[in-house]
Each structure stands twice: as structure tokens, then as C-alpha cells.
């Protein structure tokens, strides 16, 4: 793989009155400015989004993006893979570098303002209409079942889930772009959160965020702020939990990680830090195991020892993750990359970690139906 990330731009994730188009515009212009480019320098773009159709009555998003670049008529298309839309779009953008250079990849989601019961239903569209949605398997319910099996198989506890929440909320306090940057969340808040779907409580779940994120890809680096894409892999799996042999690990993520690490010619030990898809606290634990950062069932040991905190051996979700950083679904996979690049450039301010030469992003669609893994190194 020979590709560089020459510009990144990310809006704050969280509730806002900005529209889908305004969010797209903010992310695109800030990524272009970061790269020192103008829109007319671009040769193609990919736009990632999950729910603008049902939520905002807006599809045909590539033409919406085209409207932000009047007269350019660039090749452009949309990627949708539920919560992995961003990661999949990035993979497509990298493939597109064979033909176009530079390529813009932008993800966006507008979730606030939709009544809760409708939004829960719409997000549930990431599951199978018949197998999952029809029996009330909302998104939290899916991960609740996954958590229960993981707890039973490996002895993972409710306290472990709370540890993930507390760590990521603490991290978010150092990330001005994070959904819960301003919010001080205590152990007591977490333990007393209302039940969403047993065993998951409110603070086990990522929030409903608006936001957009963009990166600009090129075959060649521009300067030492450019980051290198060392590996990029997407894998899929059947959409419903009932179609899987195991539900305590996501095969798509295991295989994508294997492929991305092979491309980068690294092992899990070489990873300095990772932004993983903690849409629910249990998902961070499983992500670490799927990436090979811990053996199955053993991620909690690193967690309990504080090794996944910013000062630990393998910092996980220094940005706050989806859990506290926010989950602007279609933007998430690209937002993770922005956060990793920020660390690689040593531009993370108070959230900067000491060893940040190789970072990994782990982006999951649904309950493991899609996995997009990227390995990113310093330029």
C-alpha cells in the first residue's frame, strides 16, 4: 500500500443545529485547508453516511456533495455499511487512488431531532429486517446479548464494562471535539445509569451524535504532517447474530485485522495505540481481542491493570472513542482516522500520548456484519 493522508478535518461530534450539508461543508473545508488544497485540486470523492434517507429524507448524497463544489463535476459516490460506512468509504477512497489523486473521503451523520423511538428503529436497520428487527432486537439489545455471552464464557463483569465507560469519559475531557468533552461523568453516574437492555445501562451506550469528518488521500506525502496508510482492509459477515457460529468475537474484524496487519507488515505487538469501535462498552473489549491486542477473554486484564489508559502499554480510544467522543455514525470511521493522525502528528494537545508511531482504527458495521481496519503510520 502506498498512500498518504495529506489532510484531515473533523467537526465536533455531538448535538448541533447544523444541517447535514453544513456539517459536510465544515469537514470538507477544514480537511482541504489542512492539506493546503482547494476543492478544484480534488479528482474524486467518496461520501459515507448511514441514515440520511430515513432520518433526513436525503439520499443521492454524492450529488449533494457535488453541490458544495459547483461546476467541478467530480467522480463521486456514496458508501453505506451501517456504522462502518466511514471505514468502508476510506477503503474505497484508497482503491480509487489507482485512478484519481487526490481523493476526498467525507462522512456525515445527522441524528438529533429525530424522535427516540423512530431513531432506535432506524438504527436497527443495521440488523436483518426479518431475523432481528421483527423480534425487537434493537441495536443495544444485540450488544446486550453479545455481552451476556462474553460474560458467561470469559467471566467478564459489569465492573469491566463500567471501567471502559469511565476511561473513555475521562479521555473525552481532553478532546475538544468529543461529544462529552464538557461533561464530568463519575463512577456513580455510570453505575446508576438507567437500564437500556440488560446488562447494558445508559453509560454502556454511545450517545446520539451529529457530526462530519473528512480526509484527503494522495499517493504521495506532502510534508512530515502527512500520515502513511500502511494497511487497509474490509471484511463482511452475515448480518444477523443468528447466522454466526460465535458471537463473542467478530470474524469480519479478525480477518480484516489480519489482512491490514499483513499489508503493514506488522504484528499486534507493533501497534502503539488504537481507536476502536466502542459503540457499547462490551464492543471495546471484543475489539481488542479481535485485533489480537489481547487473547480472547483477556482484554479485561489489560483494562483492569490500566494498560488501556493513555499512559498504559496500549492506549485504547484516547479520543474518548464512540462511547464518550460521540458516534456520528457515517462519520465515525473517518473521525477515528482524524484522531489517529492527530496523535501521529503530535497535535493532540492535552490528550497527546507518548508513543504514537503506529495507530490502528477499527470500525464495525452493525453487530459485526462489516469490519474496516486501517493501520496508519507517521509520514
Amino acid at each position: 500500500m502506498r498512500a498518504s493522508i495529506i489532510g484531515v478535518g473533523k467537526t465536533r461530534f455531538g448535538p448541533t443545529t447544523y444541517t447535514l450539508v453544513q456539517l459536510l461543508h465544515q469537514a470538507i473545508t477544514s480537511a482541504l485547508a489542512d492539506a493546503g488544497l482547494e476543492a478544484r485540486d480534488l479528482q474524486a470523492f467518496v461520501v459515507a453516511n448511514f441514515l440520511a434517507g430515513p432520518n433526513n429524507s436525503q439520499l443521492h448524497l454524492n450529488a449533494v456533495v457535488a453541490g458544495l463544489m459547483p461546476g467541478l463535476h467530480l467522480p463521486g459516490w456514496r458508501a453505506e455499511a451501517a456504522c462502518a460506512s466511514g471505514g468502508v468509504a476510506l477503503h474505497q477512497g484508497l482503491l480509487a487512488l489507482n485512478e484519481y489523486d487526490p481523493v476526498l473521503v467525507v462522512g456525515v451523520e445527522k441524528l438529533t431531532g429525530i424522535p427516540g423511538a423512530d431513531l432506535t428503529h432506524n438504527i436497527g436497520m443495521a440488523g436483518d429486517a426479518g431475523l432481528d428487527q421483527a423480534v425487537g432486537l434493537t441495536f443495544p439489545a444485540s450488544y446486550a446479548l453479545v455481552a451476556q455471552e462474553h460474560m458467561r464464557l470469559y467471566g467478564t463483569t459489569v465492573q469491566d464494562l463500567e471501567r471502559v465507560a469511565l476511561k473513555n469519559h475521562t479521555n473525552a475531557r481532553n478532546n475538544p471535539k468529543a461529544h462529552f468533552h464538557q461533561k464530568n461523568v463519575t463512577e456513580a453516574d455510570i453505575a446508576q445509569g438507567p437500564v437500556v437492555a440488560t446488562p447494558l445501562r445508559l453509560y454502556d451506550c454511545c450517545p446520539i451524535s451529529d457530526g462530519a469528518a473528512a480526509v484527503i488521500l494522495s499517493r504521495e506525502p506532502v510534508d512530515n504532517r502527512s500520515a502513511q496508510v500502511l494497511g487497509s482492509a474490509v471484511r463482511t459477515d452475515a448480518i444477523s447474530l443468528v447466522q454466526r457460529e460465535t458471537r463473542t468475537s467478530f470474524s469480519a474484524a479478525v480477518e480484516a485485522a489480519h489482512d491490514a496487519f499483513r499489508q503493514a507488515d506488522i504484528g499486534a505487538d507493533d501497534v502503539d495505540f488504537a481507536e476502536v469501535h466502542d459503540c457499547f462498552t462490551i464492543a471495546e473489549i471484543i475489539a481488542m481481542e479481535d485485533l489480537g491486542l489481547a487473547a480472547p477473554g483477556e482484554a479485561v486484564e489489560l483494562l483492569r491493570a490500566g494498560e488501556t489508559a493513555p499512559g498504559g502499554a496500549i492506549p485504547i480510544n484516547v479520543s474518548g472513542g464512540l462511547k464518550a467522543g460521540g458516534h456520528a455514525i457515517g462519520a465515525t470511521g473517518i473521525g477515528q482516522v482524524c484522531e489517529v493522525v492527530k496523535q501521529l502528528r503530535r497535535e493532540a494537545g492535552q490528550g497527546q500520548i507518548a508513543r504514537a508511531d503506529i495507530g490502528v482504527t477499527h470500525n464495525i458495521g452493525g453487530v459485526g456484519g462489516t469490519a474496516a481496519i486501517h493501520v496508519i503510520g507517521r509520514g
Partner: protein, 372 residues
């Protein structure tokens, strides 16, 4: 949910598909999963289509490692043996009496659900019209081979003897006591004694209809809403005579039709019409008193109560004559004059302004050239 397994390579598919995508092998349908709960979650957040919380979703696994999800309204524990409920199938023969809007809609619904249908009507030409109408509708959702299948499953007859094949007969003739009594008695005479007879009446007394039958214990109400293909609700009604077994059958049939049954007492207007007629009458009174214009009354109710239609446009859709007759009936049977149709409704009835079907009601309707 039915699972299919490839007879050649063993791949599993939880979908009703025709061959194995991997090897082209033939698929065999596996029996439903009977297993043990391996995980169960209590869901506390409502979502559209699952508004009632809490509910439980359990993951059930059998000895072969096949898993299935099932929704329950009571707690289930890990380790519980569970056989997920199968959606009821409709492989029975259903009779439909009458070819009005409801009769046609019911036949369309039943054929879409895969039932065999015996359709009875008094006049052959009207029955033929109805049949043509139903198949015109079905061509919008079925392919040619499915249409041929549906044609094979539909028997149209002006002779009630064909009803002897039916497991269930639904009466949907004109909303008139004498007509209904006559048709119900005649149908009963041809039906098997094990079959269920149901009326789709929206306003007549179920007890009164039942009292003249030979087997009132096999009779009850299945009140559909127009159009039955789209409307989810069925009010299931047991009379004073209906047997518990038949009451359960009515509910089971409603589920098999893909509907949500709500069991109601045999009281006038049941749940929906009794509440609706008050609303319609009050809206007409507001119009009479000049509280707001017809458009504004409808707009306010739509937005303020989140109704899909305003009461006046709904009255136009139902038909002012039908509305007046239901109101009069409710006023008498409930002994409540507030149900008596407002003067404006009676004036519209006299003028023949019956709503959409006459082109004039609370609104004027221009016939649409391409409307069905």
C-alpha cells in the same frame, strides 16, 4: 423463520431462497429450532414497531448449534428450554361473503397471504367485476406465476354449497340486519359444523346476529378496517354464545392474516367506531359553530393529535351516509343522544353530498382520470 440447509455442502440460510449460492445445491427446510436459552436481554427502550417495554429477546441454541432469536413479554432465563413461536400459517380455506369494498379487500388480503378462498356473491356479474378488480390489484404485487397460483386458489360462486370446504367464513355483505341474518343463516347451513363463521359488521349487534343461528357458539366477529390489506387492526368479537375455542380461533386467524387482533366486547361500535363517531360528530359541530374552517379543523387534528387524516376528510372517505347510519345506530343502542348525527350531516345526506364517492362532501373532489 425457517432455516434451509444445502443438501450438498451444508451451508445454512435463514431465508426462503431456492438454491445454495455457494454450490448450487438443493436446499432442504429444517424444522424450527427447539433449544435452550443461551442469552436473554430485557429491553427497556421502546422503538417504532416495538413500543411496549419492557420485553425480552432471547437467543436460543439447539444441540446442532443452530440459533434463533425470539421476543417474549415475560422474563426467560439462561438454560430455559424454549421452542420459538412460529408465525401462524394460512393453509386453510376461507370463505368470503359479499363483494363490496370490504369483501374485495378481504379476498385480496387472503390471496396475498396464500389462503384458498371461496368467494360468494348473489349476482354473477358483480362477482365477476369483483374478481377482475381483485386481480387488477394483485398484479401490482404478484408476479405472473404467483397470479396463476392465486387464480387456482380462488373459487367464485353464487352457490353457497362451495362453503362446505371452508374452515372459516367471513361475512361482509351490506350493513343491514335483515340482509346479514339471511346470508349468515344460509351460509351456516352449508358449512361444516367444525368451521368458524365470522361477521365483519362494524355496528350491528353480534349477540342479535348470533341468536338466530343454529350454532351460535361457532360464530363471532372479525372486524377489519378499510383497506384490509393496509390496515393492521382487527377487532375480534365474541358474543355471549361464542365458545372459548372459537374466540381463540378468531385471534389466531387475525394473526395469520398478518394483523394485530384486539379482543373487544360485543358492545355497539366496539372500540374504534364508538370513539371515532364522537370525534367526527364533534368536528362537524365545530364546523357548524364556526370554530374553524374544514381545512383548519382537519389540519389541527392531524398535527395536534398526530392523526394521519383529519376527521372531516375521513368522513368524506367513509361516506356521509355510512357515518350517519352508524351514528344513529350508536345513539339508539347506547341510549346517548350525543351520538345523533349533527344537523349538517343530515343536510349533506339530503343533498346527496356523501363525500368522495359523490364528488362532494366537506370537500369537493375532482374525479382523477387515472384513479382506479
Amino acid at each position: 423463520m425457517s432455516t434451509r440447509r444445502c443438501a450438498h455442502c451444508g451451508a445454512l440460510y435463514p431465508y426462503d431462497i431456492e438454491s445454495c449460492t455457494l454450490c448450487g445445491g438443493e436446499l432442504e427446510e429444517l424444522p424450527p429450532v427447539h433449544g435452550v436459552v443461551v442469552a436473554s436481554t430485557r429491553v427497556e427502550t421502546p422503538s417504532r414497531t416495538h413500543e411496549q417495554v419492557p420485553y425480552w429477546v432471547a437467543l436460543v441454541r439447539d444441540d446442532d448449534g443452530r440459533v434463533v432469536l425470539t421476543k417474549r413479554d415475560a422474563d426467560v432465563d439462561v438454560g430455559d428450554a424454549l421452542a420459538p413461536e412460529e408465525p401462524p400459517r394460512l393453509d386453510e380455506t376461507v370463505g368470503v361473503l359479499g363483494y363490496g369494498a370490504m369483501g374485495r379487500g378481504l379476498v385480496e388480503l387472503l390471496l396475498l397471504r396464500g389462503a384458498s378462498v371461496v368467494w360468494w356473491g348473489r349476482f354473477p356479474d358483480k362477482l365477476a367485476d369483483g374478481r377482475a378488480h381483485v386481480f387488477d390489484r394483485l398484479t401490482r404485487s404478484l408476479d405472473q406465476s404467483q397470479i396463476v397460483e392465486a387464480e387456482d386458489k380462488l373459487t367464485c360462486s353464487t352457490d353457497m354449497s362451495a362453503l362446505s370446504r371452508c374452515d372459516l367464513v367471513i361475512e361482509a355483505v351490506a350493513e343491514d340486519l335483515t340482509t346479514k341474518l339471511e346470508v349468515l343463516k344460509e351460509a351456516e347451513a352449508h358449512m361444516r359444523t367444525s368451521a368458524v363463521l365470522a361477521t365483519n359488521t362494524s355496528s350491528l349487534s353480534i349477540d342479535e346476529l348470533a341468536s338466530t343461528l343454529e350454532h351460535p357458539e361457532r360464530f363471532g366477529g372479525l372486524h377489519f378496517f378499510n383497506p384490509p390489506v393496509r390496515m393492521q387492526l382487527v377487532e375480534t368479537v365474541s358474543s355471549a354464545y361464542t365458545s372459548p375455542e372459537v374466540s381463540r380461533a378468531l385471534e389466531r386467524y387475525a394473526l395469520a392474516f398478518g394483523k394485530v387482533p384486539v379482543n373487544v366486547a360485543p358492545s355497539p361500535g366496539f372500540v374504534v367506531n364508538r370513539a371515532l363517531m364522537r370525534l367526527l360528530n364533534e368536528a362537524v359541530r365545530e364546523l357548524e359553530e364556526g370554530v374553524a374552517s374544514a381545512q383548519d379543523i382537519d389540519c389541527a387534528i392531524r398535527l395536534g393529535l398526530n392523526h394521519p387524516m383529519g376527521p372531516l376528510e375521513l368522513a368524506d372517505l367513509i361516506g356521509v351516509d355510512v357515518v350517519v347510519s352508524i351514528m344513529e345506530d350508536l345513539a339508539t343502542r347506547l341510549d346517548d343522544p350525543s351520538y345523533a348525527p349533527r344537523p349538517l350531516l343530515r343536510e349533506m345526506l339530503t343533498r346527496g353530498e356523501l363525500g368522495r364517492k359523490t364528488g362532494a362532501g366537506f370537500y369537493a373532489y375532482v374525479p382523477h382520470p387515472s384513479a382506479p
